[in-house]
Amino acid sequence: MFEIIEKRELAENIYLTRVKAPRIAHSAQPGQFVIVRPDKQGERTPLTIADYNSEEGTVTLVTQALGVSTRKIVAKGAGDYLADVAGPLGRPSDFVAEPIEEVRKRRYIFIGGGVGAAPVYPQVKWLTERGVEVDVIVGAKTKDLLIYAEEMRKVATNLYIATDDGSEGFHGLVTALLEKLINEEGKQYDVCVAIGPMIMMKFVTLTAKKFNLPCIVSLNALMVDGTGMCGACRVTIAGKTKFTCVDGPEFNAYDVDFDEAMRRQGMYRTQEQRALAIHKEREAGHKCNIGLDR
C-alpha cells in the first residue's frame, strides 16, 4: 500500500498525486514511468512520473481521469492509499547515461502537450540543473487546461505556451509554434523531445522532419505488467517489433509507426467505454435492475 501525501486538481479532470514510494523515489530517472493499481479490483495503469524526491521518498504522478481506473486514482486524496505503485519502469532518457559535456553541446526543445507536460518537467529540470539549455513548449486546448506552466517556467531556459484557442500564449498548435520559433525567431535546435497525445507526437515528428531536426517521443502504449511479460505494448520501430515498457518508452520518432500505435491503443476501447458507463452509474448511486452491469 502506498500512502498519498498530497492531491490537488491541476486543471479540469487532471490531478496531481504525490505518493510515498521511497524505493521508486530513490531510483527514478527522467523518462521513466510507474504502474499504478488503485485498488484490489483495479487495472494496472501506466502513469508518467512528473517528479520525484529521494529525500522525502515521494513520487509525483499526474493523472487525467478518463477511464474507470484513472477515475479511481484521482478519487483518492491525501491520507488514502493506492494499492500498488511499481517502478520506475522503462529505460531512462538517453541523455542520462551520456557524457554531460556532449549533452551540453546540444540545444533542446521539449514539447509537452496536455498531460504530456508533466513527464517533460523532470527531464527539463534534470538538464537545466546540469547547465544544459532547454526551451520548452507547453500546449493545451485552452488556458484552463494548461498544466505545469509555472513549474516549467522555473526550470526552462525559455518557456513558450500554445493554446488551440489562443486564450494564452501562441494561438495555434504546438507544431505551428515550433515552426514559428525556427522560421521567424531564428531559433536553432539539435534535439526535439515531444510527449503528449499520440496524434500530437505524430505531427511534431512530421514538423521536425521538415527541419531535419532529430526527434524523440515517449509512447503511451497499453500495458499490463510493464516489465516485458505480456507484449500488449508492442510497437513497430524501424520495421521491428519492440516492447514500449522495456525497450522504451522513448524512441527515435522517425522510426515509430504512429498509425499502428494509435490503432493498438484502441484495442479495448469498447470494453473500456462500457466499463466507464457502468462505473459512472455506480458512482451516481444507480443500481442496474436489468443486469447490464453483470
Binding site: 479490483q41 494496472r44 493498438r264 452491469d293
Partner: protein
C-alpha cells in the same frame, strides 16, 4: 493381487458445465478413493518411479504411509523432497515422469501418483504443517521472484534460520502459479495462497511491486541492503512471437497477456476492472500447457476456440490430461497446421489466420519428427483473436542490470547444478536458468540453491 484393482477414476466437473465456469475441473480423490488407489502400489523394491521424479520423491514410501492411515507421515515423506505437493500433484506431467515409469503401466494403468500426492498435499494444507523450530542465524538472503523456485528456496532457507525477503515485481506473490496457470487447473485461494501463507508463516517477508533491475538491483541488495546472498528465480516471462505478417493487428496477443488478464487481473470476474477481448472465434497457436490454458480460458469466456499446432497430436508437449480435458470441453484441434500470416480487416483488426498444412519429416535434434510444409496447401481460418503460445524466454532485465552475470545465447542465466552463477553470492534457478520448464524442476532448483547458499554463507 493389488494390481487387479483398476485405477480409481477421479471425479471431475461435467465437461459441458465446466466449459462455462472457472471452478476447478478435477475434484481429486476423497479419503476412501485415495486409500483404494494407494493399495494398488506394489511398493517395488527398486521403484522405477523415484528416479523418474525430477526431485526424487520417495513415492512408494509416502504411499505406504498413506495406506497405513498416517497422512501426516505421508506428508513428511513428500516434504523431504518437495515443498509444493498440492501444486505439483495438479500440474506435474506425471505421464512422462513418475506414472510414466510405473511398472503397473506396462500392462495396465499406472498408480495415480499425482492424484495421491495432491490428496496428501491438500490434507496438509487443511490441517496445517507442524511448525518447525527455527533458530535465527543472523544472516540475510534476498530472493528475486515469488514463483515455485523462489518460494521453495525461501522456505528452506527460513527453516535453516536465515532472514529471507522475497522481492516480487507484480502486485501478488506466486509468479506463474498466479499469472499463468488458470484457476480451473490450480485454485488460487484454496491452494496457491495457502502455500504462500505457509512460507510467510516461517517468517519470510514478501515485498511486492519491486522490479529487480529497476526499483532495486542485485548489486544494491548485496552492497546497500546488507544481504549475504541473492537467489534469482525470476522465471521465463518474455513471450515469443512468430515474426509473421499481421502479428501487430488488433486482436493478436501473447498467451502471457491473455492469461495475465484472466488470472492475475481476474478479467473473467465482473467485479474487476480489467478488460479482456475474446471475440467470437479464437485461434491459439501452440501445443504446450500454456496453449491449453489459453484456449480453455477463451472457451470459458464464451468464444469458439481452436488450437493450431504444427506437429501431430503425438508431439503435443502439453500434459495428456490437459489435452483430454480440452477435447471434452469442445476445443477444436487443428494438427499439422502452421500459421503463415494473420489477416486484418480495413480497420486493422484480425479477420482470419492464414495457415499451411504440414507433414512430418525427419527427426530433429529434439528427437521429434520435424514438420515440413506441404506446398500449395494454404488455407484461411476465420477468427477475430489470435493468441500466440509459442513459449517464453527469461526476461533480460536482471541480467542486463547486473555486472558480470553470465548468460547464454538463449538469454538464460548460467548456473551450475547447485545454482551458483558467475557472480559470487548470486545464485539462480528455475526457468531463468533452464528456459521455460516445469514447476517441479523450478521447485527442485530452488531447494538445491538453498543448500548451496547455506554452505556459501557458512564458508564465508
Amino acid at each position: 493381487m493389488a494390481n487387479k484393482i483398476p485405477r480409481v477414476a477421479v471425479r471431475e466437473q461435467d465437461a459441458k458445465l465446466r466449459a462455462t465456469n472457472f471452478e476447478e475441473v478435477c475434484y481429486g480423490y476423497n479419503e476412501e478413493e485415495a486409500l483404494l488407489e494407494a493399495s494398488r502400489c506394489l511398493n517395488c523394491k527398486n521403484p522405477r518411479c523415484v528416479p523418474a521424479c525430477p526431485v526424487g520423491i520417495q513415492i512408494p514410501k509416502f504411499i505406504e504411509r498413506l495406506l497405513a492411515g498416517d497422512k501426516s507421515g505421508a506428508a513428511a515423506v513428500i516434504g523431504e523432497d518437495s515443498s509444493l505437493p498440492s501444486i505439483c500433484g495438479r500440474v506435474c506431467p506425471q505421464e512422462s515422469q513418475c506414472e510414466g515409469s510405473c511398472i503397473l503401466g506396462i500392462k495396465g494403468e499406472p498408480v495415480a501418483i499425482g492424484k495421491l500426492e495432491r490428496f496428501v498435499g491438500d490434507w496438509q494444507l487443511e490441517n496445517g504443517r507442524p511448525a518447525p523450530q527455527i533458530t535465527k542465524n543472523g544472516h540475510k538472503v534476498a530472493i528475486v521472484g515469488s514463483g515455485p523456485s523462489g518460494l521453495a528456496c525461501a522456505s528452506d532457507l527460513a527453516k535453516m534460520g536465515y532472514e529471507v525477503t522475497i522481492f516480487e515485481a507484480l502486485h501478488e506473490a506466486g509468479g506463474v502459479l498466479v499469472y499463468g496457470i488458470p484457476e480451473f487447473r490450480l485454485p488460487k485461494e484454496r491452494v496457491v495462497k495457502q502455500e504462500i501463507e505457509s512460507v510467510i508463516a516461517l517468517g519470510v517477508k514478501i515485498e511486492t511491486d519491486v522490479v529487480v533491475g529497476r526499483t532495486i538491483t542485485i548489486d544494491s541488495l548485496l552492497d546497500e541492503e546488507g544481504f549475504d546472498a541473492v537467489f534469482i528465480g525470476s522465471g521465463a516471462g518474455l513471450p515469443r512471437f512468430m515474426g509473421i505478417e499481421g502479428e501487430n493487428l488488433n486482436g493478436v496477443l501473447s498467451a502471457n497477456e491473455f492469461l495475465t488478464r484472466a488470472n492475475l487481473m481476474h478479467a473473467y470476474d465482473e467485479e474487476y476492472d480489467t478488460p479482456i477481448y475474446v471475440g467470437r472465434k479464437v485461434v491459439v497457436v501452440g501445443g504446450g500447457n500454456v496453449a491449453m490454458d489459453a484456449v480453455r480460458t477463451a472457451k470459458r469466456l464464451g468464444a469458439e476456440a481452436t488450437i493450431v499446432y504444427r506437429r501431430s497430436e503425438k508431439e503435443l508437449p502439453a500434459r495428456v490430461e490437459e489435452v483430454h480435458h480440452a477435447k471434452e470441453e469442445g476445443i477444436e484441434f487443428k494438427m499439422l497446421t502452421n500459421p503463415t500470416a494473420i489477416l486484418g480487416d480495413e480497420k486493422g483488426w484480425v479477420r482470419a489466420i492464414n495457415c499451411i498444412a504440414m507433414e512430418l519429416g525427419e527427426p530433429d535434434e529434439s528427437g521429434r519428427r520435424s514438420p515440413v510444409e506441404v506446398a500449395g496447401s494454404d488455407f484461411e481460418i476465420e477468427c477475430d483473436v489470435v493468441i500466440m503460445a509459442l513459449g517464453t524466454s527469461p526476461n533480460p532485465l536482471i541480467a542486463s542490470t547486473t555486472a558480470a552475470l553470465e548468460t547464454n545465447r538463449r538469454g538464460c542465466i548460467v548456473a551450475d547444478e547447485w545454482g551458483a552463477t558467475s557472480r559470487e553470492g548470486v545464485f539462480a534457478g528455475g526457468d531463468t536458468v533452464t528456459g521455460a520448464a516445469t514447476v517441479i524442476l523450478a521447485m527442485g532448483a530452488g531447494r538445491k540453491a538453498a543448500k548451496a547458499i547455506d554452505e556459501y554463507i557458512k564458508s564465508k
